[in-house]
């Protein structure tokens, strides 16, 4: 009855109904890391869709919202890839402290391409986001939000679909929208010898939800340890976490 062929046919039908299949989105921008791109059905970050970035794990305590650097940085990397891929300007909407431009520049998001918008009220954030999504001259829109209800998310999704402009929602609040992909990001200890100081920025990135992909028993599609390569201005996989025990050879040399 439920043969694998039947199941995959039904899945394909659902994907087509949801309008997020590989042929239904206006295109995709590769993230430059084959492992991540392979996990996404579009071979990259789909255009004309909503993508949500949240703070994963225990890092999302009360008050830690905008102060979490990893989620902000990963959103900036996504927006930077979108802006560089399209060669068009991008919008960053935030009500609180602006992100720090030198830090963004180091993450591949050129401030020359970025227009910052600071609305007064939360409702204006969504209005600006929707206006941005209707403007085809943009490579992407990033909005820092706390709470997006389903109706608003649906409106935004329709606006994005019509123009092909993607949105990145940096969600500081409880997650729960209809974003096409949802990412959970948290800082991870940097690799290398602690005596050499702080290494490359390292994040634990989880793809929590992705249309057209099922989740595993831990409630996620996939997870990676990702590093930011400052020289190459790109993402790369981090080496497995180093064993904290000191190697015997070093111990002898020190003794």
């Amino acid at each position: 009855m439920s043969s694998p062929a039947e199941l995959s046919r039904l899945r394909a039908r659902i994907v087509a109904l949801e309008g997020v299949g590989a042929d239904a989105v206006p295109g995709a921008v590769a993230l430059g890391l084959p492992e991540l791109d392979a996990a996404l059905p579009w071979g990259g970050l789909a255009l004309g869709c909503l993508h949500e970035v949240t703070v994963a794990g225990s890092g999302s305590g009360p008050g830690s919202g905008p102060a979490d650097g990893a989620a902000t940085a990963f959103s900036a990397v996504l927006l930077g890839r979108l802006a560089a891929g399209a060669g068009k300007p991008a919008l960053w909407i935030s009500r609180g402290d602006m992100p720090y431009a030198p830090g963004l520049a180091a993450l591949g998001l050129s401030p020359e391409r970025l227009v910052m918008v600071q609305p007064h009220r939360a409702a204006q954030c969504l209005w600006v986001l929707e206006e941005g999504l209707r403007c085809r001259a943009l490579a992407g829109v990033l909005a820092e939000v706390r709470d997006v209800d389903l109706t608003a998310a649906r409106r935004l999704q329709l606006a994005a679909r019509a123009s092909g402009v993607p949105a990145v929602l940096l969600n500081h609040g409880p997650s729960g929208g209809t974003a096409v992909t949802r990412w959970g990001v948290e800082s991870s200890p940097s690799r290398g010898d602690p005596a050499l100081g702080v290494g490359r920025w390292c994040w634990h990135v989880e793809l929590l939800r992705c249309r057209g992909r099922g989740v595993d028993d831990q409630g996620r599609v996939a997870a990676w340890e990702v590093e930011w390569d400052e020289q190459a201005r790109g993402l790369r996989l981090a080496a497995p976490a180093a064993d904290r025990a000191i190697a015997p050879g070093r111990l002898r040399a020190a003794g």
């Binding site: 431009a101 227009v115 702080v198």
Partner: protein, 443 residues
Amino acid sequence: MSVADALAVRPGLALAADDEAADRALLDRLADWCSRYTPWAAADPWPHGFGLWLDVSGCAHLFGGEEALLRHLGGRLRRGGLSARAAVADTPGAAWAWAPGGSGSPCLPPRGQRDALAPLPMAALRLEPATVATLHGLGLRCVGDLYGVPRAGLAARFGRGVAQRLDQALGHETEPISPRRPPPDHGVHAAFAEPIARPEDIAEAVRRLLERLSGQLEADGLGLRRLEVTAFRVDATWRAIAIGTSRPVRAPAHLLRLLAEDLPALDPGFGIEAMRLAALEVAPLPPEQTGLGAGTARSDDFARLLDSLGNRLGFDRIMRLAPQQSHVPERAVVPLPPAAPMPALAWPQRRRPVRLFSRPEPVEAMAPVPDSPPVMFRWRNRTHRVVRADAAERIADEWWRRTAPERDYYVVEDDSGRRFWLFREGLYGADPPPRWYLHGVFP
């Protein structure tokens, strides 16, 4: 007359407190409204006068002559609940003198002021009440009595005041009217045969005016940065709305879209009888070459987005972040308007946080060794144990504003992998003791 006397004569008298500031504000609004007759309209600057000055040279024929203009103006003011007397003359002084009590035509014939003013009382010359009383004491009661008096004597007795007022009234000395608002170089104006009130009529009128204005601007190679739309209503009041653009624009469709949101604020009241569009700020905009590729359409789209965001949120809420030559982290970034060119400066090469707190947050830090990163710190009620740290980066204020002690910045990573930018203000062993702050978070 005191209030008690006045009430004794007429018990039902309505009393209102004298509020000169409110009167002046009303006069200013009326002067703005009168700019529908002439761009040179002003409230009376003389401290004892409550009047309006209109320089109608070259404007009167638009209303069918000077008398017709006065009838039009008087009728509108009466409809607005104001009583007024007006006169037209060669000089402001003569018009002022003729307005209160002149018999016959309110318009003095050209060069007729000398004869017309002669029988008028001395107060008609806009003199201080004390001066008028002194002149009365000397037997000089009418303006005409002054014609024969030698100038030297007048000047010796009263200073320049009396002679100057007389000369201004007779036209021997000029008295320019300075308009309340400088007339814009580019503007269009339309008067309607019938007052309009329906929203679609107003939008259509604005559209036609925009087309005319756009033609004017195109001929001069200019684009709008700020536009004001003023609606003159039949009851001697007006409403105005203004929009700004992020870069020069003159496409009527673009401007109309920006105005569309605010047009309902042009409350027509009993009807709008005239409308004016004034280009308050213009900038050069070379003539466009149309129909070449989609590139212009895309940048137009972007400009339209910035304008609509700017008019709704305020243009100061939209910016690009540009580098600025300073080592101090909070001064290394400067917000620029989105259309401004970016300075050709590089961003700092050292590691910088992705979020910088506008106000560094004090932390309790344990740093057992002087001039080394802390081993532990407490921030927002959580203790962080430092596992890794980079060497210090010392940043001092520029020497010309050296007010704060220098700071030693440390990039630290705690045991959960979160990375912070801490700094120590002050040196160990110094007074006051050093303090620790958290200034930003790293990716």
